[in-house]
Amino acid sequence: MRLGFAGRSFAHPELKSHDSRRWQNRPHLSVSLVYLRDMMVWLARAGITMYRMSSELAPYATHPSLPEFHNQVEECRSELAAVGRLVIAAGLRVSIHVGQHVVLSAPEPQLVARSSDEVCSTAALLDAMGLGAEAVLVSHIGGLYGDRDGSRERFTAAWSDLPAAARCRHVLENDDVCFSVEDTLLIHREIGVRLVFDRLHHRLNNPAGLGERDALAACLATWPPDVRPKVHFSSPRTEFNVDQRPAGVRPRIRAPRWHNHADYVNPFEFIDFVRQAEGLRPFDVMLEAGARDLALLRLRRDLVRYAPDLARRLEPQPAALREEA
């Protein structure tokens, strides 16, 4: 079982996940790829073998008003291939989660077209890196627009219109408000798209009352036998939310909202989750925690301490267990 984190590093905040310069300063995919290479140097040192790359690696690549940015994947063919070779050599599993603006279920054709462009562009980037089928791009279904069945149908139609290369990379995740595992399973049965099980979202949005193990098993079964599935895991943030206000104004304090991610992963929740998956096929876990890589490193230590049998399943095995062996 590999553990991964997304985006920027908390252990090394000076490492960037992508070229975030605004368009006036001419950001470029080639710069993002060097940032990715630098991040991989840290991942290798930390023994981290799963990583969610930024969805903005190719800045403005599908922005309708900035056509000068549209050809970056083509311009960086050799650099993408070189970074892809590094990824493969490191045994790193990478993925991309496209932004919330990608809405294949939208009623507006222009928005669907832009969303399709973004999915295709992201898939082309992963293809140009020469990565295997484990390197996926994740999205949600999109909004409800007051018509659950209609939204699902629009998603299904838009997905089916994607080129085969994009469909091969695309996987679908249950969300915390609109579309539950029940919905993603319905779509899977129709078009075969692979499903990512997001555990916190399932706890927040499960009107059908599907048991966690059953829902997880059903999502894992959507993946081909030779491709290891991935799931998302996070703990809900339980602390007050403090909204800073202008100078002289007292901060506003709000009660927690359970869909916010905690900074770290509650190890006892995680252990229970993995234990209840005993007997199911192996999977990798993308941790969605505020403290990113710090949370991953802490969870690894916690597993060694509180559940060494599970820690032995980690890839790579934590150093403490290797020394013990």
């Binding site: 905040p13 000076e14 300063n25 080639s30 940032y35 630098d38 140097v41």
Partner: protein, 172 residues
């Protein structure tokens, strides 16, 4: 006199800066100019090279700043005087970068070719007071623009400061 092509040097007196959308935390890589010819290449041709085999841990940056070694004339040596915005990176064999040396022992080795914009002078050149050996230095734009000497460029922070910076940068 330095072999700089004036047309390729930005006219603004200092970096305070270009489009007004720069980020204080923008990463800067300080690289070495072994001799004046390297500065001429950076200025006139708009690129700098780093062999992949000897690349530092951090190569990615929004700016390159240039440290001039003792091979530069008095008054120009042992200092960082110029800065340029990074435009892109390519990975190319050395022979593609320097076609005049096809028989070089490393002609087939891959190099980063870092394309840069016009060189901009720093308002305050950054001196190496102790003449320590300089290789690559990863720093930030804010640190570069306020540094008085080379030692000011290194990011030295406690775990607490690092974490605070991470929260700040990520806007969490």
């Amino acid at each position: 006199m330095l072999p700089l092509n004036p047309s390729n040097v930005a006219t603004s007196p200092s970096l305070s800066v270009h489009t007004g959308v720069e980020d204080d935390e923008a990463p800067v890589l300080v690289v070495i100019l072994k001799e004046p010819a390297d500065l001429a290449r950076a200025s006139e041709q708009g690129w700098y090279r780093i062999p992949l085999a000897r690349a530092p841990r951090r190569v990615g940056a929004e700016y390159l700043a240039f440290y001039q070694t003792g091979a530069f004339p008095p008054g120009e040596r042992w200092r960082v005087r110029w800065l340029a915005a990074v435009q892109g990176y390519r990975v190319l064999p050395r022979r593609a970068l320097i076609p005049d040396e096809p028989d070089h022992p490393r002609a087939g080795d891959p190099y980063y070719k870092i394309s840069i914009g016009p060189l901009r002078p720093l308002a305050n050149p950054i001196l190496s007071q102790r003449l320590r050996r300089i290789t690559f230095i990863s720093t930030t734009l804010a640190r570069l623009l306020t540094a008085r000497e080379i030692n000011d460029l290194w990011i030295k922070s406690s775990a607490q400061e690092t974490l605070w910076r991470a929260w700040h940068i990520l806007g969490t």
